[in-house]
């Protein structure tokens, strides 16, 4: 054994022949290894590429370590901040929303736009060129690559910009750029860039309202960045400016790193699972192979072969299967991994460095492809190699011949009401219990994942519905200045199809501690009394009532900060940067923890009216349409938009509620689709496993099938007997899959929701998933059994009775 392998030796020639002569079996084993190695290789390639490239391309753009949103400022203020200790570079931006149209005013969209003082000298969040130029002249627009898809625009296209006074400006798109500050994902927005010189032409004053800063020293040290950020905030507040928001980031970590890697980790886990399932298939096939080769092993032992020599032969066979599968899986997963990375990068607005070979993934694939089949196959191969000559030559099939008196066998024996052909199928199912267990394991896992994906989808949809219930209306109007409700009502009275309408107020609240520091920020919504546009599920305390004032019903995520908060307790809150007042908490509703963003809370319309000092006026207006389809809502939104603008309103946006839901759903749908693909791949492995099992079962029972023929079984009876057995296995796996889908759904949802929303969501169940998987598993089981069944029916009795 310690000599180099001489492939001319008879025993190795047998191994080569085993590989070649039974190509169908070789294909089955190679496919089951290759699918797993391919899946895990694809994900690992994507994992490595995205992780490396996210970091490299993000740091290459010289990202801002600190972003501060504050009152308007100018170059003088920038010079002041530059003097703060620890600050290396400071730049200002003017952030504004432009109302743009690509079809001469037919449809309008919002473009979040940044005005940059000097594109040539700007170094923070340096724009990467995709197409055209990175330095627009006055009255020209750059578009962020992510926005090209969102707005369906292209380089060279002319767009209309509507100013607040209704004036239309035309701007050409002169460049497509990549901005590392722009994040992709479900809630990504369209972003454009203009020069500061263009602002006046757009009816805006030339000032900054957003500050970018980088730090001296270690720009990857979060503590250091926070210290510098606090020094800047002090400076801002000392100048009596309102600080709206501060964001800090290290230079080498893309803000979406955690999210992306969490999703990839889930996919890696699924790939690993597929590998495990594939390995159970390998174990099954090798078990059957060893059973089929039992006689040959007996013959080899008869002519002098010892167990270790036989073991060596079959281990070499397994390694050969692994090497063949690697030949297929490595190049394919390399390409697929990069394509997957490209897709993820596109969706999440990450820039990749280009296609490359990832050696560490190849090494991992090689280790996996060799070790997993060896682990899976060692037991059957070792057992097979120790078969005694007597057992091998006597063709002893005691295990396959009958049950061994287990509970399942006794159960099967007690069923007498069934017809004998059905009984045969039923009892055959439990004959090879080891094989059945491995097949069931594969199919059950596939089913559980499949069902879980649907449950996760239902839960995500439930979350969207929850958001929709809280504050989404059929048509949502935002004004750039307050208007009287009665005036809006009158204007919109000409719009057809409006079933109900409400004016809402909204304001930012800050929960202030005794020492004056701010613990949490709260977005306070003020629907009118008796609003039908919101229905939060208040689980503790109560909802707002007529006469409530300075009361708040707050999202239960507040318990993360104030775990002991109860209805009746008070909070010190400062609304819209005005005076701090005592607010009474009257109830809690379910809403996920938004992480670093603001909490959600509801107060009364009258409270906000007074806090904001805009009596009877609103900046937000909501409509309910008589028909709740996306087309109807969009059409109504357009009419509303036209009506309001014609009447001279300064409208920021008019959006159809369903459009918002659809956009979020689509983004989540992509993620769900990925999981579904993985689930279907798992199902594929499962059905290959079932087909293999049924093939092996038929092969082993060839003699019995011949006997059935000899005593009168027609083709259909034989086919039914095999197919029923396959379907029965499928149904058992479905039942097990249902049970297993609960914990898997829970885990999967937790992983996804914490990655996407930084909070666990409530698990909802989808009947569709359970039923669909039953249909899929029945189809797969039938298909997996039909070919072995047809082969069985085609066997002539002479063949089967002569079969050895």
């Amino acid at each position: 054994m310690n000599q180099p392998i001489d492939l001319s030796r008879p025993r190795w020639r047998k191994v080569i022949s085993d590989l070649w002569e039974n190509r169908a079996r070789t294909f089955l084993v190679v496919a089951s290894i290759a699918v797993g190695v391919f899946a895990i290789g694809t994900i690992l390639n994507a994992y490595v590429i995205i992780q490396e490239d996210m970091s490299v391309t993000y740091s290459a753009s010289n990202p801002a370590n600190i972003q501060i949103f504050t009152d308007p400022f100018d170059d003088e203020f920038i010079s002041t901040i530059e003097k703060v200790e620890g600050v290396r570079e400071v730049e200002g931006r003017h952030s504004l929303n432009l109302r743009i149209s690509k079809d001469e005013g037919n449809t309008w969209r919002t473009l979040s736009t940044l005005a940059v003082e000097d594109f040539e000298t700007s170094t923070i969040f340096e724009l990467g060129l995709v197409e055209g130029t990175t330095q627009p002249a006055e009255r020209e627009l750059l578009l962020e690559i992510n926005s090209v898809d969102i707005l369906e625009l292209e380089l060279g296209q002319m767009i209309w910009v509507e100013l607040a006074d209704g004036t239309i400006r035309e701007m050409p798109i002169v460049g497509i750029v990549k901005d590392q500050a722009v994040l992709g994902g479900p809630d990504s927005i369209a972003v454009g860039y203009v020069s500061m010189d263009t602002l006046e032409w757009l009816g805006r004053p030339e000032f900054f309202n957003q500050l970018y800063a980088t730090v001296d020293g270690d720009s990857n040290d979060e503590v250091h960045i926070t210290a510098v950020s606090e020094a800047i905030e002090d400076k801002v507040e000392r100048e009596n400016r309102t600080l709206y928001e501060t964001i800090t980031n290290t230079t080498n970590e893309h803000p979406m790193t955690t999210t992306v890697l969490a999703i990839l980790t889930v996919l890696v886990a699924m790939g690993a699972l597929m590998l495990v399932l594939g390995s159970s298939l390998i174990a099954n096939t090798l078990n059957a192979l060893l059973t089929q080769h039992k006689r040959q092993i007996g013959v080899m032992k008869l002519v002098g072969a010892q167990s270790f020599q036989i073991l060596g032969m079959y281990i070499l066979l397994i390694i050969a299967y692994s090497l063949i599968s690697l030949l297929v899986a490595i190049p394919l997963s390399g390409v697929a991994g990069y394509r997957f990375s490209e897709f993820m990068a596109g969706e999440l607005s990450i820039t990749l460095q280009g296609y490359r070979f990832v050696p560490q993934v190849v090494v991992a694939q090689m280790a996996i492809a060799v070790l997993i089949p060896l682990l899976a196959g060692f037991l059957p191969v070792n057992r097979g190699s120790k078969t005694t000559v007597e057992k091998a030559i006597s063709d002893d099939q005691s295990e396959a011949q009958s049950g061994n008196g287990s509970f399942l066998d006794r159960l099967g024996e007690q069923i007498e009401w069934m017809s004998r052909p059905l009984l045969i199928s039923l009892r055959n199912t439990f004959r090879r219990k080891g094989r059945l267990a491995l097949t069931l394991f594969t199919l059950t896992m596939a089913g559980a994942i499949f069902i879980a994906v649907f449950n996760v989808q239902a839960s995500l949809n439930g979350f969207i519905d929850q958001i929709s219930d809280l504050f989404l209306a059929d048509v949502m109007i935002e004004f750039s200045e307050p208007y009287r409700i009665s005036q809006i009502e009158e204007t919109l009275s000409v719009v057809p199809g409006v079933a109900a309408q409400e004016g809402w107020l909204a304001g930012n609240g800050e929960i202030v501690q005794d020492d004056g520091s701010v613990d949490e920020t709260v977005i306070l919504l003020g629907p009118p009394a008796g609003s039908t546009f919101t229905s939060p599920k208040v689980h503790t305390g109560r909802w707002q009532q007529e006469g409530d004032f300075n009361t708040v019903v707050i999202a239960d995520a507040v318990w993360e900060t104030y775990p002991d908060l109860e209805p009746g307790d008070t909070l010190n809150m400062k609304v819209a940067g005005r005076r701090t007042e005592e607010w009474t908490v009257i109830g809690f509703f379910t809403f996920p923890d938004p992480g670093e963003e603001s909490l959600l809370g509801y107060t009364t319309f009258t409270t906000l009216e007074e806090e904001l000092n805009i009596p009877d006026q609103v900046v937000s207006y909501r409509l309910e349409t008589v028909i709740q389809t996306i087309d109807y809502q969009t059409e109504t939104a357009k009419i509303v938009d036209d009506t309001l603008r014609s009447a001279g309103y300064n409208v920021t946006s008019v959006e159809a509620g369903q459009t918002t839901i659809q956009e979020v759903s689509e983004a989540m749908g992509i993620l769900v689709t990925f999981f579904l693909i993985m689930a279907l791949l798992t199902a594929l492995v499962g059905s290959i496993g079932l087909a293999g099992t049924m093939g092996m079962n038929v092969l082993e029972r060839t003699r019995e099938i011949g006997v059935m023929r000899a005593i009168g079984a027609v083709d259909l009876a034989i086919v039914k007997s095999v197919v029923f057995e396959g379907v029965f296995i499928g149904v058992i796996s479905w039942l097990f899959g249902i049970v297993l889908s609960f914990p898997i759904s829970f885990l999967l949802l937790r992983l996804i929701s914490t990655s996407l929303f930084s909070t666990p969501l409530d698990l909802l169940f989808s009947v569709r998933g359970f039923i669909l998987w039953l249909v899929v598993v029945l189809i797969l089981a039938t298909l997996a059994s039909v070919i072995p069944a047809r082969n069985a029916a085609r066997l002539t009795i002479r063949e089967v009775l002569a079969y050895e």
Binding site: R11, Q306, T388, I393, R420, A710, I711, G712, I797
Partner: protein, 514 residues
């Protein structure tokens, strides 16, 4: 010859060897106090009927099967200094090594590795025993294949050579490590007369060269050609013919060499009449049935023009040695295999006009089949096995089937164990259940293939009595058998040899009945 052996050291000694198998129906003693000394240069024949214990004895000698009690001791003639080897004390791997170095084994079913060409098959023992040297081993394998006259076929795979050629390869392989003893289990059992003779001649040549051979055979005519012949029955050596003359060993005449005369007589007996006849009056009517198998090793004609008429109610035995064409004939009668030419008319039906599936249904309704190895479905109880043909052929109302099946099991004396699985029944009981199953659809014809071939004497008697009763009830029964206790009861015996009916006597031949 035996006298001279007494002064030499035995190569292999069996001392008080017993072998007991645990079966579903209790203990079964396959070998009972066997004592044999095998000397170098001996050519020992072991004869006896199926199930007598011949193969079990060979398995004890080769260490394939563990003995229950007693000793098997091997002493290599050229290595006296090493001392005797008690085989039963060796582990499985030690046994494999011992076998590889000292024993050459030849089985009835050749047991070649199908994916390896002939020369690699022959090199295999050298590879496993550590004697493999690429060039030398190959030259030796080629030399051995030349010895068995297969020099032209060395690069073919087993599927591409004939049965006789495969057996010669198996012999060459058995000689690869120059073993002290060759063990052969029915090496000519699957071969035609001429090929069997070739193989036996090779063995004789090897013995002449000083090899020791122990061979199991059914062919009593070979007895005189052994140096010693042992007859075994129900696990005991019942007769030792030290001179190898074979006079004391029973020899059924059906297994003898076929003379030209009786060949012609049989053919004439089977020639169809010119006159038109009513085909429906015969349960079985075969007209000029020829069956030729075409394979990579060439074509082989298993049936060479069979004409046979069996009337309803006849009790017929079909006899002939292994490889003579009995099973092929049975396959023709049961619609299992297509004739190449000729007609098979069963109960007035030309069964080969039906599709395979239609024929299955026809067979279920019209013919009960009893196999040598019972072929009960292991997952069904005996009762369910009997009900199965009723389900497939939709015979009787579903509610009546259980009662009918119980009646049949009562007929064969198994009603008490009707709800047991086949594995927990004895072989005799399984065969009785198989007979009950063959009667499930009340078919007019029962066909049985060696129904007592795998049974001990007592169980075989029970089965034979069952067939007697069925014959008395008017069933048409055709039995392929080696068992004289059956042939003496049948009304007609059809003797077949090398694909031809050589005798179709209406009275049983009594010359070989004991």
């Amino acid at each position: 010859m035996a006298g001279t052996e007494q002064h030499r050291e035995p190569l292999l000694q069996l001392k008080g060897v017993n072998k007991v198998y645990q079966t579903g129906a209790g203990e079964f003693k396959a070998l009972d106090n066997i004592n044999i000394d095998i000397f170098p240069g001996e050519f020992i024949g072991i004869v006896g009927k199926s199930g007598a214990g011949k193969s079990t004895l060979l398995n004890m000698i080769s260490g394939v099967s563990q003995i229950s009690s007693g000793d098997v001791v091997f002493q290599h003639p050229g290595e006296a200094n090493k001392g005797p080897v008690p085989i039963q004390s060796l582990s499985q791997d030690q046994l494999a090594k011992w076998r590889g170095e000292n024993v050459g084994i030849v089985y009835q079913s050749f047991e070649l590795l199908p994916m390896l060409d002939l020369v690699n098959n022959v090199m295999l023992p050298q590879d496993f025993s550590g004697m493999y040297q690429p060039k030398i081993s190959r030259e030796k394998a080629l030399e051995l294949l030349e010895l068995v006259e297969l020099g032209e076929h060395v690069n073919k795979i087993p599927a591409h050579v004939s049965g006789g050629q495969k057996q010669r390869v198996a012999i060459a392989r058995a000689l690869a490590n120059d073993p002290a003893i060759i063990i052969a289990d029915e090496p000519t059992g699957n071969l035609d007369t001429k090929t069997a003779e070739t193989i036996f001649t090779i063995f004789e040549k090897l013995v002449a060269q000083g090899k020791t051979i122990v061979m199991v055979t059914h062919d009593m005519n070979l007895a005189p050609r052994f140096t010693r012949c042992l007859q075994i029955s129900d696990g005991k050596i019942v007769l030792t013919d030290a001179d190898g003359g074979g006079t004391a060993v029973s020899t059924p005449s059906t297994n003898g060499h076929i003379t030209e005369n009786n060949h012609h007589a049989a053919y004439a007996n089977g020639t169809p009449t010119e006159e038109p006849e009513d085909e429906s009056q015969y349960a079985v009517l075969l007209k000029d049935v020829v069956k030729t198998y075409v394979g990579p090793a060439g074509s082989f004609t298993a049936l060479k023009g069979i004409n046979l008429k069996i009337k309803y109610g006849d009790f017929v035995s079909i006899v002939g040695k292994s490889g003579s064409g009995k099973s092929t004939l049975l396959n023709m009668l049961t619609g299992i295999d297509h004739p190449t030419t000729g007609e098979v008319i069963i109960g007035g039906n030309r069964i080969y006009d039906l599709t395979e599936s239609q024929r299955a249904l026809w067979r279920g309704n019209n013919m009960g089949i009893v196999f040598q190895f019972f072929q009960l479905l292991p997952t069904l109880t005996l009762l369910e096995n009997v009900m199965l043909p009723m389900d497939y052929c939709n015979v009787y109302k579903p509610s009546e089937r259980r009662g009918k099946a119980l009646e049949l099991l009562d007929l064969v004396g198994l009603v008490d164990i009707a709800r047991q699985l086949p594995a927990s029944a004895s072989t005799g009981q399984q065969q009785s259940a198989a007979i009950a199953r063959s009667l499930a659809t009340d078919p007019p014809i029962i066909v049985a293939d060696e129904p007592t071939g795998n049974l001990d004497t007592r169980s075989a008697d029970t089965i034979v009595r069952l067939f007697d009763r069925l014959a008395d009830q008017g069933k048409t029964i055709l039995i392929v058998t080696h068992d004289p206790s059956i042939t003496q009861r049948t009304k007609q015996t059809v003797t077949i040899s090398d694909g031809l009916i050589v005798d179709n006597s209406l009275e049983p031949e009594l010359s070989f009945i004991h």
